[in-house]
Symmetry: none
Subunit: 416 residues, 2 copies
Amino acid sequence: MNAELLAIGSELLGPLRAETNTLWLTEQLLDAGVSVAARVTVADELALIASALRTALGRAELVIATGGLGPTADDLTREAAAAATGRELHRDPQILERLRERFARYGRVMSETNAKQADVVAGAAPLPNPRGTAPGQRLEVDGRQLFLLPGPPGEMKPMFAAEVLPRLREALGPTAVVRRRVLKIASMPEGEVDQVVAPVYSRFDNPRTTILGSPGQVELHLVAQGGDADEAEAAIARLAAELRQALPGRIYSEDGRDLPAVVLDLLAERGLTVALAESCTGGLLASRLTDLPGSSRVLERGYVTYSNRAKTDELGIAPALLEKVGAVSEAVAAAMAEGARERAKASIGVGITGVAGPDGGTPEKPVGLVFIAIDGAAGSALRRCLFPGSRERIRYQASQYALEMLRRGLLLLPLP
Amino acid sequence: MNAELLAIGSELLGPLRAETNTLWLTEQLLDAGVSVAARVTVADELALIASALRTALGRAELVIATGGLGPTADDLTREAAAAATGRELHRDPQILERLRERFARYGRVMSETNAKQADVVAGAAPLPNPRGTAPGQRLEVDGRQLFLLPGPPGEMKPMFAAEVLPRLREALGPTAVVRRRVLKIASMPEGEVDQVVAPVYSRFDNPRTTILGSPGQVELHLVAQGGDADEAEAAIARLAAELRQALPGRIYSEDGRDLPAVVLDLLAERGLTVALAESCTGGLLASRLTDLPGSSRVLERGYVTYSNRAKTDELGIAPALLEKVGAVSEAVAAAMAEGARERAKASIGVGITGVAGPDGGTPEKPVGLVFIAIDGAAGSALRRCLFPGSRERIRYQASQYALEMLRRGLLLLPLP
């Protein structure tokens, strides 16, 4: 089966924004055994969208369009699908009712423009959208499948998983099975990782390996094919085992979890709580941890102590120490971790202080210099780091490094 | 003039790699006054490429295709362009000679497969490629311009600059200047914004307006054309003025700044400091503010008071109050703002408490319920919000709403 993907929206054709829905869909479809022959992005113009839909339906068995299902005047996908297939649009009273209810639930009155989200192409089945107002639609056109999905990824992805994928699987029957695994490594440069793992993965044709680096993180994407799931999984497991050996202790995740989730789980399993004292990261580490459900069991509290006065008031750091060694120093990082742990009566304290830039750097304390301290009953750790890049990157890498220090420390602690 | 961009190559349809040539071309074309109506990526299949070229030539005045000009069997753009235009391919002896010379220069003999790079569509003008072997081609088809450019960005970009851009500028004359402005609105649903602004912007052909909604934010993208920069700017200014009137006080930025930067600047201009007490947002608001250089002048400190004990220890909230009304309540939000302000001796305190979910909701206090309080010398404000969506979206919208409350409150305060 071959597919064509359509992304609809003038905003996707500006220079500002890369279109990501079709990238995600391509990956999902490849996993299901469907290859993507074309990806098209079109502006919010009725004739253009209709022409793109007609072209796609003329050459692909599966067409998935995302976007243009919203309530505004330039949301034209419904009208274009009707035009491309020579069908009528009718307003679905059930969908209209559900839209009204949804608005009422949030204490708002539905505006008249929103009603067009209840328009359905004749013969199409509406696809429920639990995350948003715009339902999707599924049409069969001369034996080809056309799916209209909403543009926001938070709505599109669950709808694809619930409404499109099961139907594809049914239509395709058993095919070659593809399995993927992502191995994640924190706070190690991409070049260093590659130097270690390239001699390993290049001996394997199956799985194929792709390295993806971003600040503070490297991902190894393993993609294996097999006659069945067991065969594909076994191929992945073989390579993963060798990579684990090549990078002892450094692969922190093979199950999709990101570093904050791994650290949170390690803390929760051990019944430990943590208190954070952040200066240059300014709440970023707290925010990354509290973004996860269940973090309240583990994160006792956090201090964003930007000013020296805050460091003294909240963490009990002596003004004389700040005066003598400066706020960006090993001693202050250690005192922050200790102060946070003691004040909060938490199991572990974390202290981060540094120069995030772009201003404030000196020859002795340049932009990117960050001290990170961990303080716990079982011991303490202190690291001096120099991170490259912009303020945002420095802050992110500092939060990532602190998490990796926590992770490696926690692995040494026994489970209760 | 409107353009359509084609990226040719099966490797561009894999899951991991985003296609970047058309993004770059979009920006170049927009700056030259040409808008891009569609971007298409197709696999290396003759029929597919030919169909994409035919479709593009049927609807755009300018078509630029990149890729598929190499020497291998799956480089099919030349053949497809011939098929799409119903013309012949002939081998150009001059290009062939230059190819042979190029190979000789690097001490290699040209293989027979390379000879196909000398094939030219009848009536096409070859475009020299100083950086590689594959020349480009320029065709006029029924008054429309078709350019075939090589895929490698290092060859494509200089060829665009040398061969495409000057011809575009000549064809467009000195009349096409494009100016853009983005108007940003916080914490107002996209549908509501559109209902108010659609009657305004739809009266304007120039600028054209695109609405972009994301959680907690709506952007109006205005793109104007004019004979010169002044004319384009004036067209933008006229529509922007009407939009400002239609949404009094709600457009928080027209200069690219995001909401945290606007709030930070308002605070700094007034010489005010702020202290944050965050429960459900868990440091996200602090992190968004400290992501900006210069935030240390304004953000005195932040408290992430996740537990009740932390609310009592750090902000002085009476355990009896927490017992009586619960941590998620108007009274506790107000006490958090007050406590943060007093403890930190800051000008303004902010308190945020709510149910971010996915667990912890009750019928009286459902997931998404958030109380936000601002406390300052000039007065205080308190709002009850119910945000839809995931934990991440609820947290983000709460931080955005708090910033918007701060902004609107600060606008009422006189400058020193």
